[in-house]
């Protein structure tokens, strides 16, 4: 047992390749047998991943889901930002420059709208739950953008640590909602072309959620959504602690 644990720890990444391969294979079968391909295999695989993350989190009490369980530490590397971004960039290979150019200004508009609307949505929920101080409201609103914007903003405006934790949780919920929800709502919002995918990426902003959700919907749309979503967190970190915080102070004192 000890040898096995040590071995899997040393070869974590390769073991993660194996496990993910098995998950993908199983999801493919489930997709055909159980849903007659109505739910794509990749969507089922991502869902299984989220369930494993939950179980891993409960088992280890850690923050990185399955990656905190000793056998599966390789998931941290395979599913980490480096591999994710490297793979996301590679999807641009087949993307059309023409579409990117023609969506440019709406993409930028969707970024600003996405940040402001998410922020206001978060503030609204915080107000309903009885938060009244500007710092907490701003931080929870920022957390509704992404789980990075929340803590960055919270630290900048001096929010309390439980509010910062809450803002992270809100951001993670958003990521999960976008991941699971995208394939289901794609048709009704016309998310079937690169143009709309770029707007979608800008509005939602959570790079993990957008890329996973689009992958489950139609992998061809991934590069377009990722292209705008990648600007979201940075822009959010810029706007939330500055302009939006100042506006909040003008309103709530």
């Amino acid at each position: 047992m000890e040898i096995l644990t040590k071995f899997l720890d040393k070869n974590g990444l390769v073991f993660a390749f194996l496990v993910v391969g098995v998950i993908m294979y199983g999801s493919g079968i489930l997709s055909v047998k159980l849903t007659h391909k109505k739910i794509p295999g990749s969507a089922i695989a991502i869902l299984i991943g989220l369930v494993l993350a939950y179980l891993g989190g409960i088992y280890s009490n850690g923050q990185k889901g399955l990656a905190d369980v000793p056998f599966f530490s390789g998931f941290g590397l395979m599913g980490g930002a480096m591999f994710r971004d490297f793979a996301v960039v590679s999807t641009a290979m087949g993307a059309s420059l023409l579409v990117m150019r023609s969506t440019g200004w709406v993409g930028a508009l969707s970024l600003f709208l996405g940040i402001v609307l998410s922020f206001l949505g978060g503030v609204l929920v915080a107000l309903l739950w009885g938060y009244t101080d500007t710092e907490s409201l701003t931080t929870i609103g920022a957390g509704a953008c992404t789980y990075i914007v929340g803590p960055v903003t919270g630290a900048a405006v001096g929010a309390s640590s439980d509010v910062i934790a809450l803002s992270i949780a809100a951001g993670v919920v958003k990521t999960i909602v976008v991941t699971i929800g995208t394939p289901f709502i794609a048709r009704s919002i016309g998310l079937d072309n690169p143009h709309t995918a770029m707007i979608f990426g800008g509005l939602m902003g959570t790079t993990s959620g957008v890329t996973a959700g689009l992958a489950a919907t139609d992998p061809k749309l991934v590069p377009y959504g990722a292209l705008t979503a990648t600007f979201y967190t940075g822009l959010g970190c810029l706007l939330c602690p500055s302009v939006l915080y100042l506006l909040m102070r003008m309103v709530f004192g």
Partner: protein
């Protein structure tokens, strides 16, 4: 050679991400601003240029394509490392603070995409 493709991808990734880091520093934000986006644009441009010059062979392209095929498995691994426990256990306020913005933003998508309908030739011809 396969490694040429992987190296090309790595070049775009490093350059784009560095640009994003410096842009973040420049505007005084503690985050990478658009690094992945710059890297993607760079890859599209270089790919286009190499294609025209005829420098791209099938193996070089395969070096990039391998990673775009690995994309979904990597996303599955990423899903498995999300902090789902905290999201589930943080109660209703976190749930609503995450859910409400998504619903609001989704509602504006049809409006935004109508606002900027691409010309008919593009909307039908380019969705390959």
């Amino acid at each position: 050679m396969i490694i040429y493709g992987v190296a090309l991808l790595a070049f775009c990734y490093i350059t784009g991400q560095l640009l994003g880091e410096y842009l973040g520093l420049l505007i005084g934000v503690n985050a990478n601003v658009g690094g992945v986006g710059f890297a993607m644009l760079l890859l599209v441009l270089i790919n286009d240029w190499l294609h025209k010059k005829g420098y791209l062979d099938a193996l070089t392209e395969a070096g990039v394509q391998f990673w775009s095929q690995m994309y979904i498995p990597i996303i599955v691994a990423m899903a498995a490392t999300q902090n789902v426990r905290v999201a589930v256990s943080s109660g209703l306020i976190a749930l609503f603070a995450g859910l409400v913005p998504v619903i609001i933003c989704i509602a504006t998508i049809p409006f935004l995409s109508r606002l900027s309908r691409p010309t008919p030739t593009q909307s039908h011809g380019d969705s390959h």
